[in-house]
């Protein structure tokens, strides 16, 4: 299956390094979330993946092939970098038809794909200049999907979508990955990534600050635990060498995996009333990792 592999990807503009030695692999059958504050270098990295920007060093391969060497890129990699980057005077249907013709696909695919992304016939015939951002995103996804690619590269695909639209996008990408497709999507919104991604690559100031599966990252966030006898639980955990702290609502936050915490409780014969990964764990990690960013949180 197709994997997307970035290797030591680096780009600088006049001495300012925007993307700094980024290496990661987006696996087939998984959704990889590319997470970072605005201006962290996500879009530049994605442009380098599809040959729109030349890296200073390093490169990206898709199933071992550089993007430029793909004979018919649209049939292998679906790309949406900026849904607003379309000629405002063309209709949605026309833009999709141009993609269909460029990829050499049968004409019926246009109507099929419009239906798949939920653009009505009437809206498809309107000029894109009058589209809402959400409709543009749907059209952008349609252009990415029409060639039935095995890899999707999407920059902030949920921007401008309403909650129902975000749900739709999530289901679409989930289903695509479950069928064996590779998805790389970027976002500066943690929640979006948290609900959809299997793997997360977090970047700040052009560097990867953390990467791994979502489960691994969440584990790093620690465990929230309650027992009938909170005092005994706290003692047992401390005796096992674990760092604990009381949270505001009286539960214990433990700097360890739920498996470890559960094990300690069992050995001490303590009945637990709650055992789970700490809430908003990824958010804490995200804020912690991106806090010292000089441009953190500001618009690109």
């Amino acid at each position: 299956m197709s994997t997307l592999q970035a290797k030591e990807l680096t780009k600088s503009y006049g001495g300012r390094t925007v993307v700094d030695d980024i290496s990661f692999t987006a696996q087939a059958g998984r959704v990889t979330g590319f997470l970072g504050p605005n201006g962290a270098g996500k879009s530049t990295s994605m442009r380098m993946m599809v040959g729109l920007t030349k890296p200073n060093s390093g490169g990206v391969t898709i199933s071992g092939c550089t993007f430029r060497d793909l004979p018919n890129p649209g049939r292998q990699v679906g790309v949406m970098l900026d849904a607003s980057a379309q000629h405002a005077g063309r209709s949605g249907r026309e833009i999709l038809t141009l993609a269909q013709q460029m990829m050499g696909l049968p004409a019926r695919r246009v109507a099929e794909t419009l239906a798949k992304v939920g653009l009505s016939e009437a809206n498809a015939d309107r000029r894109v200049g009058g589209y809402s951002l959400g409709m543009r995103q749907r059209l952008g996804i349609a252009v990415a999907l029409i060639g039935s690619p095995s890899v999707l590269i999407l920059d902030e695909p949920a921007n401008g979508l309403d909650p129902a639209g975000i749900r739709w996008m999530r289901d679409l990408l989930r289903e695509f990955a479950d069928r064996g497709g590779t998805v790389l999507l970027s976002s500066h919104l943690l929640h979006e990534i948290e609900v959809i991604a299997d793997d997360i690559v977090m970047i700040r100031n052009g560097r990867i600050v953390s990467q791994g599966s979502k489960t691994e990252l969440l584990r790093a966030a620690g465990t929230t635990v309650r027992a009938r006898d909170m005092g005994a639980l706290e003692r047992a955990l401390r005796e096992s060498g674990l760092v604990t702290s009381r949270s505001a609502d009286g539960a214990l936050d433990v700097d360890a995996d739920p498996t470890v915490v559960g094990g300690v409780a069992m050995e001490s014969g303590l009945a637990l009333t709650e055992l789970r990964t700490t809430d908003g764990g990824l958010e804490d990690i995200f804020l912690e990792l991106t806090a010292s960013s000089p441009r953190g949180g500001e618009a690109a």
């Binding site: 442009r47 018919n72 990829m103 064996g180």
Partner: protein, 264 residues
């Protein structure tokens, strides 16, 4: 969602490369598929018809020959064709559609070449249209005035006019590649075609040495014999040199920039 595909996503077998012919067809379609593009194309037809009617109405009866019609129709063509060529190129940057175009066809030279092919196709079609409208104008015009029908444009002369018009059109392509912005390229085109000839007029009037340089540097001057149909040996050399200086070299520089530049 109306359809849910359950078939596994798979890598597509041997996929055929996107051929130059296919890119050219799509680029040709893109020249017509917006309202502005459509009216720009329509303006070729409208200009040809208006010029013909104006010639019948206002040209002295004695001048009512085929060449008069050809000149009258040809002039607006040499203005409109380069604009079409410019917008075909610069739209990718000004309208930012290049983000999609250059990811579907990562070889930018191939996209530019396809645009040149599509523009030349439009140029040749426009010249054939001019030919037909001119013939009709000449037949109708002389019938109205009762003057004699004069066919004073040979096939060779027509081909020279086509060549001259294509050089004009490709000047637009070159400016588009070089500046990659519709407004800048359009301004540059009008400076090139309107301001430069006036400047040459001043220069040649003030100093004689400019008269020696003009045939090797002033492309408007060297192209005139193409439209007259009177071009001779030396003048071919002049056209070749000015076309190289003003068209070929800037186009190659522009292509280098296009391949290197970042598409945002």
């Amino acid at each position: 969602m109306t359809t849910i595909e359950r078939a596994p996503v798979r890598e597509q077998g041997p996929v055929q490369e996107v051929s130059l012919a296919r890119v050219s067809r799509v680029e040709l379609r893109k020249m017509f598929d917006t309202r502005s593009g459509f009216w720009l194309m329509a303006s070729i037809v409208i200009a040809a018809l208006v010029s013909t009617v104006a010639t019948i109405l206002f040209a002295p009866d004695a001048d009512l020959t085929y060449y008069t019609f050809a000149k009258a129709i040809g002039f607006p063509m040499t203005v409109i064709l380069p604009i079409i060529a410019i917008l075909s190129i610069t739209g990718e940057w000004t309208q930012r559609s290049g983000l999609t175009t250059f990811t579907l066809v990562p070889h930018r030279n191939r996209v530019i070449l396809a645009k040149v092919i599509a523009s030349v196709f439009v140029g040749v079609a426009a010249m054939l249209l001019a030919l037909v409208v001119g013939v009709a104008g000449n037949l109708v015009g002389t019938a109205i005035t009762g003057t004699e029908l004069v066919w004073d444009v040979s096939v060779a002369h027509f081909l020279l006019i086509v060549l001259g018009s294509l050089v004009c059109l490709l000047t637009g392509t070159t400016l588009g590649i070089l500046f990659r912005s519709s407004s800048v390229a359009l301004v540059a085109y009008f400076v090139f075609s309107l301001v430069l000839p006036t400047l040459w007029g001043f220069l040649t009037a003030s100093q004689d040495r400019f008269l020696d340089w003009q045939p090797w540097l002033d492309s408007n001057y060297t192209q005139a014999p193409l439209f007259d149909g009177s071009i001779t040996g030396d003048q071919w050399a002049h056209v070749a040199v000015t076309t190289t200086i003003w068209l070929l070299i800037p186009a190659l520089i522009g292509l280098g920039l296009v391949t290197k530049s970042e598409v945002k």
